[in-house]
């Protein structure tokens, strides 16, 4: 019993498997963006080599940095993602832990990578990092709220009035009644979720705090190098997988057969489509300024997710 749990935690749905898949997804993203721009792009294992290379580099710590926080903060996000991938079920592939309130845990853990960025950037004593941390905090305040509203809409709809915070029950409900992706009441929430993913992965148009060479250089990661940077990259990789799983659980948890292998391939296929969709958005969208990004997040996805919440409450009461 114990050993099966350890395997689930370290190797199969969580740990190694999610990490490798996520790193390949990051490379896939770069390739798709390159192809859309008419270039060849890097090989599919590129990000894998990047991570290995970063492990072989010199660690530099700035003179005024708080050294312990600076070096160990990436672990917060990484550990959070690792633990969450053990908790969360994968449609048709993995049962999850069957805890009754794992949706609540998910809402908390989702914020950990951003908190790791904020702590690491804040401890690095760089003015660029300070600006980036400030921006990230502002954005985080809003996009986390959007995610909470979406989660509550789904939970309330599944419970028929009482919120059900079990991801497994949400999946089972949709496997019986059809997935929410095809339910018009949830379409605003799907769009809000797409915006949420763009914001939490720092893809354009929310490239404000990071990778924005024009004004903050590398943002909160500017002083990091070597192993801490590699851990940040790996956290990103696992986050992409986690977001894809969450999207599938919320809106499209349909497994095609009972066979584990086919379901696994189906899951990977859905993840590839998910990543390619976001790469497409990455390639076509420009970047916001911070005030524009904040206003957009405060108005559009929040309003969309609230519309879904209202529709859900109305339909639960039997009014529509």
């Amino acid at each position: 019993m114990l050993s099966a749990n350890i395997i689930h935690f370290l190797i199969f749905p969580g740990g190694l498997f999610a990490l490798c898949l996520g790193v390949f997804m990051l490379s896939l993203e770069r390739i798709v963006v390159a192809r859309l721009q008419g270039r060849v792009g890097p090989p599919i294992y590129q990000n894998f080599i990047d991570v290995i290379k970063l492990f072989n580099k010199e660690i530099l710590v700035p003179k005024n940095a708080k050294e312990a926080v600076f070096i160990y903060s990436p672990l917060i996000g990484f550990a959070g993602m690792l633990a969450m991938l053990y908790f969360i079920p994968i449609p048709g592939v993995y049962e999850g832990t069957n805890v009754n309130s794992d949706l609540i845990v998910l809402i908390y853990v989702m914020a950990l990578p951003a908190i790791a960025h904020i702590l690491g950037g804040g401890a690095s004593s760089s003015p660029y990092a300070a600006i980036a941390v400030n921006r990230e905090l502002k954005l985080m305040l809003v996009y986390e709220m959007v995610f909470v509203i979406i989660s509550f809409s789904v939970a309330i709809y599944v419970g028929g009035g009482d919120a059900v915070f079990s991801l497994k029950k949400i999946m089972e409900y949709q496997q019986l009644h059809g997935s929410f992706l095809f339910d018009w009441k949830f379409w605003p929430a799907v769009i809000a979720f797409v915006v949420f993913v763009l914001a939490t992965l720092e893809l354009p148009p929310f490239q404000i705090a990071h990778h924005n060479d024009a004004d903050v250089m590398d943002g909160f990661l500017i002083e990091h190098s070597s192993i801490p940077l590699a851990i940040y990259e790996m956290t990103d990789a696992m986050k992409i997988i986690l977001l894809s799983i969450v999207f599938q659980i919320f809106f499209f948890p349909i497994a095609i057969t009972d066979d584990l292998i086919i379901n696994l391939i189906w899951f990977i296929l859905k993840t590839v489509v998910f990543v390619m969709f976001f790469s497409f958005l990455h390639a076509i969208l420009p970047s916001f300024r911070i005030d524009q990004g904040f206003k957009f997040l405060l108005i559009v996805p929040t309003a969309l997710s609230l519309i879904t919440l209202i529709l859900v409450i109305l339909s639960v009461k039997g009014l529509i």
Binding site: N56, V216, I222
Partner: protein
């Protein structure tokens, strides 16, 4: 160990260039059509991540301290590529009162990419040469 040499991160610094080289470097050699990403390269926003430093411009008096700071922050081993005629010989800005170049006075330049501005193909060729030198440096360090 040869696998890690396929993932160089590039950092570029403009030390007072006329912008000709920067346009070729940042927008033509990297983004559409000509592609250094196929060599595994990636532009980074911080010299602390970088393996290859690309320098454009003739090192003006104002940009010199920043150049020295960047050279100080690069983790070892690193490779320096001088893009354009300016960093090599100060080009058309030679003998001007505000020029403190050439680059050779501050650091050993590994690759020179000639041209004013150089063609994108020449820049990519320079980066490919820099990769070989980087590989050599890593081997010697071990």
């Amino acid at each position: 160990m040869s696998i890690i040499t396929r993932s160089p991160f590039l950092f570029r610094i403009n030390t007072g260039s006329c912008n000709g080289c920067d346009v070729e470097l940042a927008t033509t050699a990297m983004i559409p059509r000509y592609d250094v990403e196929r060599l595994g390269c990636r532009y980074t926003g911080s010299p602390k991540h970088a393996d290859i430093l690309l320098v454009t411009g003739p090192i003006t008096a104002r940009s010199k301290p920043y150049l020295l700071e960047v050279l100080d922050e690069l983790p070892n081993p690193f490779v320096v590529v001088a893009v354009g005629t300016c960093p090599t010989s100060c080009g058309i800005f030679r003998d001007s009162y505000s020029i403190e170049g050439p680059l050779e006075r501050y650091v050993k330049v590994d690759v020179n990419v000639p041209g004013c501005p150089p063609r994108p193909q020449a820049i990519i060729d320079g980066v490919a040469k820099a990769l070989e030198i980087w590989k050599e440096k890593i081997r010697n360090q071990k």
